[in-house]
Assembly symmetry: C2
Homo-oligomer: 404 residues x 2
């Protein structure tokens, strides 16, 4: 069988851990499998590079940031290949460019367009364990790109998809996917199984175990995904299609995300299409808007509020300022002392009153809801960030997620 394994930054944070990961990879190989490994940058490398960068330029171009940050994974793949070789197995490290992970040219959050398989297949054929730099690709213009947050997960799933791997194991520093963050909710339970859709919502909503793009890809290409710990041999969480699952949960888990900021623009003329101009401008700047609330306060005048990630707040405010004339709003504001709490469950659509029970749980704790957004399988509320832990615990209790 062909197994794709992905190891995150904390799993390869130092030489000792790299050697331990190498041993685990060799073990898999000796079980008779072909192994392709995707690796992130070592623990602090990226932060160190960003520190250096900040001493040189306040607002460096994203192309050069990718050039800089992609070295992190190149270092870890080379070291991991050396560690594997010194255990007596053959290994070869490859950059995103060498594999042929072709992306668009949206630097710092490029999307994968195509993944070539020739080089990987040739290396596997000669008996090599193939160690691929995650998080990175190469654009059509031959420029180095990075895939943004959680990019290595996406790399791993994309490789598993094109290589038709029998298994894609995502090794991380927790035992799997939990009903809530165990650091906040001690009685949180590890899920043995979760649907792609639920995982997708959870990861969108801030559960950091897997990046949403990787889950999307896995769902689309039916990649058998197993999220597990790199520090032990416990069974982790297996991702499945809902129809393959025995029972469906009304609520599977509670997620929270501190990486949220609200931007408000006030006194926007209520003409058709004018509100869209701000979102077009944000989209042109590659900024993702999450929740949007529009309220007609007075005649012909709107207030609009929306959320973006905290990381992109500065960039967002710049775009908002630059489009004042075009959009014709009077004032803007922002608030980054907020968070998002969400409940997720594939069975939610068939039950009434799930959202109501959520609002009740928050009300019982005197937590104010600033914005609400829902989908078939999730309800999210924007609340004050100070209330986050209290909210997560209350929701976990309300939906009895701790019970086995």
């Amino acid at each position: 069988m062909l197994v794709v394994q992905k190891y995150g930054g904390s799993s390869v944070a130092n030489p000792e851990r790299i050697k331990r990961v190498a041993a685990r990879i060799v073990e898999t190989k000796l079980q008779g499998h072909n192994v392709v490994v995707v690796v992130s940058a070592m623990g602090d490398t990226t932060d160190d590079l960003i520190d250096l960068m900040k001493q040189i330029a306040e607002n460096p171009s994203e192309r050069e940031m990718d050039m800089l940050l992609s070295t992190g994974e190149q270092i870890s793949v080379a070291l991991l290949a050396m560690a594997i070789e010194s255990l007596g197995e053959k290994a070869v490290s490859l950059t995103g460019a060498q594999v042929g992970v072709v992306t668009d040219n949206v630097h710092t959050k490029a999307k994968i367009i195509d993944v070539h398989t020739e080089r990987m297949k040739a290396e596997l054929k000669t008996g090599n364990i193939v160690v691929v730099a995650g998080f990175q690709g190469i654009s059509m213009d031959n420029d180095i790109t990075t895939l943004g947050r959680g990019g290595s997960d996406t790399s791993a799933v994309a490789l598993a998809a094109v290589l038709r791997a029998g298994l894609c194991e995502i090794f991380t520093d927790v035992d799997g996917v939990y009903t809530a963050d165990p650091r906040i909710v001690p009685e949180a339970r590890k899920l043995d199984i979760i649907s792609f859709d639920e995982m997708l919502e959870l990861s969108h909503l801030g559960a950091g175990v897997l990046h949403p793009r990787s889950v999307e890809l896995a769902k689309k290409y039916k990649v058998p995904l197993h999220v597990r710990s790199s520090f032990n041999n416990h069974q982790g969480t297996v991702l499945k299609e809902v129809e393959e699952m025995e029972g469906i949960n009304v609520v599977t888990g509670v997620a929270h995300d501190y990486n949220v900021a609200i931007v408000g623009i006030f006194d926007v003329p209520d003409e058709p299409g004018i509100a869209m101009k701000i979102f077009n401008a944000l989209s042109d700047a590659n900024i993702n808007v999450d929740v949007i609330v529009q309220s007609a306060m007075r005649n012909n005048i709107n207030d609009i509020a929306f959320t973006v990630t905290k990381d992109e707040l500065m960039k967002t405010l710049q775009v908002v300022k630059d489009s004042q004339e075009k959009v014709g709003y009077k004032e803007y504001s922002c608030d980054d002392k907020v968070a998002k709490v969400s409940i997720v469950g594939a069975g939610m659509a068939s039950y009434y009153g799930v959202a109501a029970r959520m609002f009740e749980a928050l009300a019982e704790e005197n937590i104010n809801i600033e914005m609400i957004t829902t989908s078939d399988i999730k309800v999210s509320c924007i609340i004050s960030s100070d209330d986050t832990e209290k909210a997560v615990r209350a929701l976990h209790r309300k939906f009895e997620l701790g019970a086995v």
Copy 2:
């Protein structure tokens, strides 16, 4: 005019220095020139990476070493491009692979086969300052290679050659080429001009300012080369063909090199061709042998001694051991407590007695000569490394190099 500038590791050792180098580059650009910059890895980066590597593998494969070490230059080009951009000029960084510096596949000391110019020319045409990672290339198999010691000099000269640059400036931490190492000989004089051939010998003999391969390339493609300090604006040393020079020195400079080790093999059967077997084996292992001395001590039995660089002593001894049966020698020995001192001068060939004066100078200081090798424009002696400084000073005095 198109100017190629090369900055070594000490010139970009920290953010402050990178900014200073950026300012210098922008100055050149604002004088109306097109600028291509070649950069080495920041000061200690390479050492840090080697430290990491040693914690992981004792004897890592050279392919993976190249993969690892090439990240050093990628970091410095990205940072330098950012620094240039923040001064308001357009810049783009390129790896060896992106430029298309095509090399053979002899990892850790690859030779350049071809350099593509399309990408660099396209970037120059859009007004970009092009910042190229020195020291690295890409093999026909799409593997990352490094050019070995002094590789960034070679990169710079190769780029200047293919781009037909009007000037190639090698910026370093000294003011130019000196008659001897000023740290050893305080009265050493900076040379305003030196012939390619003299520079070639000097660099082969351990004067660290320029790597011999870069000088060879510059001579072959008539690249106008200027070696100068990155810390001031002084005129440095210009390299010329001998016929373009006004006067020719009998002795131009004194060089010394601690990176030398002697290997001896004893009791080699004196059959035709048998001695060559050891050198063929060393050549197959890509080890450069410098001085060779063969002495017929007794009937049909030879002793052979030769020198290699200290770096390659371990590898050399392995080859020597492995070929004992084939070569049929009885014993071997090695000595790394030696150094090479040399005198170089383009006019040497037309004068008698230059070598004799060198031996006299060493004899006056009671310095024992272990091996001698000569060429048209140099005489080198292998001596005890403890005597090196004394020897260099004596030779500098003997040939009156301090006088203006």
